[in-house]
């Protein structure tokens, strides 16, 4: 497993709450035994999960903003803390991120050009003469008209434009790995499709992406592989087509049947059978040994409560569920 671009090996992350007395002992298990790897071939891997499932923790771990409690994260075979200590500049040039809210990335006092100029200066991408041409090119690649964009301030641009400038910055830097944390959740549907197409184009430039989202629809649209994460555990993974068309884990099934279909002829057939009382139990997430979905699963068995099922391979998919023993 060491030959991947990015490898998570049994990574766990526990957050301790700061407090007094009994409060001080409270912990939140954000990730538990997460292992996956991105291959050296450019690919788009989607990480799909609800809010609070640990998606953003994975993102912060990759960027080195958090240290894992246990386990190891390797980038090109070297640990991330090692990269950050010895060759930080190289690492941040190769691993870039797009955040959910494009507004917060910009300094409102500077023109948006600065974001692109800084990228060029910082990573010595081009000489000053060359830089201007490159900036024009990068803006055109993402479908923006440089004349309308350059010289403006962030508040004068729409959310879609701001997010696409982030894309053009990625195009300038040409990182090896792009972490996109919910990049389209603030965009309108009409822009979403355009944005995702650009993201897909980047694969051809040799950029691998980790696409983090709660939206299976968009994940299906751009990803080569999908991982389903729930409550800090990865429950199912596999090629996109297989996971969507033939989901194995009860949680994945529930997610897929809950997606509203844009077709009035296919309204939900079944009425809700989700027990609200059960949903409440899940909210206080402590370290649990069993399957995290146990409380909500309709197929729950006794052994699910105290044991986490091992990975089981079925065709191309991998699933952690006792149903497939």
């Amino acid at each position: 497993m060491n030959d991947g671009l990015l490898t998570f090996q049994n990574v766990s992350k526990v957050f301790r709450r700061v407090g007094f007395g009994f409060l001080g002992r409270a912990t939140v298990q954000a990730l538990k035994d997460v292992s996956f790897s991105l291959s050296l071939e450019p690919e788009v891997l989607a990480l799909v999960g609800e809010s609070g499932s640990g998606k953003s923790t994975i993102c912060r771990l990759i960027l080195g903003l958090e240290e894992p409690t246990s386990g190891e994260i390797l980038y090109k075979g070297r640990g991330i803390s090692d990269w950050l200590k010895n060759s930080k500049k190289e690492y941040i040039r190769e691993v870039q991120i797009i955040f959910q809210d494009p507004y917060e990335v910009y300094n409102p006092f500077y023109r948006v050009d600065r974001v692109l100029w800084m990228a060029i200066k910082k990573f010595n991408i081009a000489s000053d003469n060359e830089a201007e041409r490159l900036i024009y090119e990068s803006l055109e690649v993402v479908g923006l008209r440089p004349r309308e964009i350059l010289g403006r301030y962030p508040h004068q641009l729409s959310g879609g434009e701001r997010q696409r400038i982030m894309l053009s910055r990625i195009y300038l830097i040409k990182p090896r790995l792009l972490v996109a944390d919910e990049p389209v959740s603030m965009l309108d549907a009409s822009l979403r499709a355009i944005f995702l197409d650009h993201l897909r184009e980047f694969k051809k430039l040799g950029i691998s992406s980790l696409y983090i989202t709660h939206d299976l629809n968009t994940a299906y649209y751009i990803a080569d592989r999908i991982m389903i994460i729930y409550s800090g555990r990865i429950l199912e993974r596999g090629p996109t087509e297989d996971v969507i068309k033939d989901p194995l884990h009860p949680y994945t099934k529930m997610l897929i049947t809950s997606i509203p279909v844009p077709d009035p002829n296919k309204r939900w057939q079944d009425r809700v059978v989700i027990d609200i009382a059960k949903l409440q139990k899940v909210s206080g997430r402590e370290s649990i040994d069993g399957c995290p979905f146990y409380n909500r699963c309709q197929f729950a068995m006794d052994k699910c409560e105290s044991n986490f099922p091992p990975i089981r391979r079925i065709n191309n998919q991998e699933v952690n569920c006792f149903l497939y023993e």
């Binding site: 499709a193 809950s258 997606i259 279909v261 077709d263």
Partner: protein, 318 residues
């Protein structure tokens, strides 16, 4: 079908230093009793402002230069504020946008719900609690939620508390502004069904504002498509989805991601600014069927089949 609410040429503007931002610019619309009407469109097209205008819950610099809203024969916009206050919540209630963040974090749900009920009626605390309990029950929440603080509930459950609050006094119409945005899919499903239930079980008319076409398909009877402060198309959900007429509607539908198709097409170009809408048809700069007349003249919303209206020169609209 009885018309319960009628909006006539409503305009809602914001005063800014650059002139008026014409967020809602002449909307005419009928809401029928017992239906679920969806209002769809991109962000910034005036969906939420329309609802705020109808309910008169806007604040300066927002104002209404002209337009009429009739509810049961009453002209709402000319009603004195005191009279209107009696209608709000009792007859016309509202689930605000981002309502999971609109609860007061340091007050228990019980107090917040009962406070709302008691300020609009003159019943006792005990009766108000009964009402609150039955409202919670009808959105499928257990009674012990009353004893909780908002942070003890998940986003979706807080949203349901807000829906429960809106139906406490058994209103005739509920306006729900983006009721499922920002929720996980499972919660979205649950909340949409709760909204559907309001109509099916209690006969409440629902007006739902949402930008996500898929959730309109799920529960709405009719959909009205807004763009740049105007309505471009109104029709039954089935008609709109099976045979969209306006080029904008077509674009909107082909941009909806789904697990059944892999070819998404966005609408090129950017949404115009409310300070200066484009001349003629407001969609013409982004429209691929653009004709010469579209730049000069504004098409009117014209009924081309019973219950189906569209504002486009491709279908008359002169």
């Amino acid at each position: 079908m009885n018309t319960i609410l009628e909006v006539e040429n409503l305009k809602v503007y914001f005063k800014t230093i650059l002139g008026d931002a014409k967020s809602v610019d002449g909307v005419s619309l009928k809401v029928f009793e017992g239906e679920i009407l969806g209002i769809a469109g991109e962000s910034g097209c005036g969906k939420s402002t329309l609802v705020e205008g109808v309910l008169k819950i806007y604040k300066p610099p927002c104002y209404i230069p002209e337009g009429k809203v009739y509810y049961k024969g009453m002209d709402l916009l000319n009603l004195p504020e005191e009279e209107f206050r009696k209608l709000r919540w009792k007859e016309l209630s509202y689930v605000p946008q981002g309502s999971m963040n609109s609860l007061n974090p340091v007050i228990k749900i019980e107090e917040q719900m009962i406070d709302g009920i008691m300020s609009h009626t003159d019943i006792s605390y005990r009766e108000a609690k009964e009402l609150a309990l039955s409202a919670l029950n009808s959105v499928g929440m257990p009674p012990d939620v009353l004893e909780m603080y908002p942070h003890e509930l998940s986003g979706g459950m807080r949203q349901r508390v807000c829906i429960a609050m809106s139906i406490c006094l058994n209103p005739k119409i509920v306006f729900a502004d983006e009721p499922i945005t920002g929720l996980d899919v499972v919660m979205q499903k649950l909340n949409l069904q709760t909204l559907g239930d309001l109509r099916d079980r209690f006969g409440i008319t629902v007006v739902m504002v949402a930008h996500d076409m898929a959730c309109h398909a799920e529960i709405c009877d009719r959909i009205c498509i807004m763009y740049a402060g105007k309505i471009l198309e109104i029709g039954s959900t089935f008609d709109i989805f099976s045979d969209p007429l306006h080029p904008y509607t077509k674009g909107l539908l082909s941009a909806v991601p789904s697990l059944e198709k892999k070819d998404l097409k966005g609408i090129p170009g950017l949404a115009p600014s409310p300070l200066e809408w484009p001349s003629g048809c407001r969609f013409h700069p982004r429209c691929s069927y653009r004709m010469k007349i579209c730049e000069e003249k504004e098409p009117i919303l014209k009924e081309i089949q019973p219950g189906r209206s569209v504002a486009c020169f491709l279908y008359g609209g002169e």
